[in-house]
Subunit: 111 residues, 2 copies
């Protein structure tokens, strides 16, 4: 008990939930917004930008990387992170595939 029953759901449902989980923390949202605003970015900026400890930010960056939303390159002594454009576009399509499924309500059918 206490463990998510991924086996009960479709691959798409699990994938959607996993991506949503990557968005489900304000620090990660802030990181993504920062990367979106400045195409070029190094991790050090984030430590001074957000009020969290370096270890915490590194952990959030790892999760975003695991989700495929960002990618990192070694830039000399520091690290350069940016959005993964292909993944970003596919995620937008996945989410809009969900959002667009809503249909007009017939009066009486809806609550």
């Amino acid at each position: 008990m206490g463990v998510t029953r991924s086996d009960l759901f479709t691959q798409e449902q699990n994938e959607f939930a996993t991506l949503a989980k990557a968005f489900a923390h304000p620090a990660r949202v802030a990181i993504l917004q920062y990367l979106l605003a400045s195409n070029k970015c190094i991790n050090g900026d984030l430590v001074s930008e957000l009020g969290l400890a370096q270890a915490t930010i590194s952990q959030h960056l790892k999760e975003l990387k695991n989700a495929g939303l960002i990618q990192g390159n070694i830039e000399g002594v520091s690290m350069s992170y940016c959005i993964n454009p292909e993944k970003w576009e596919s995620v937008q399509k996945l989410f809009n595939g969900m959002f667009d499924k809503i249909q007009a309500c017939e009066p009486g059918d809806c609550c």
Copy 2:
């Protein structure tokens, strides 16, 4: 330690993260897809549809309701849940506001 530092982030970032958290479980994704597919819906359908216990589904429905994504009406002895269309639309706009922020990469700027 161990508690999310919501005070460090903007209201928009916290709101975005909270909504994403509502999507961040395959059972809730499945529930939303079911509600999107059938405009009319009662809770009992979901218990037989998904493989989870009644108490668990009721809990997920509560979270979706708290997030404002769905709304429930008493329908005789049972309960009728459906998507909240206004909220749904505003969430789509919020997410696309994020997704659309990506800009074309100048070669050399990106990693």
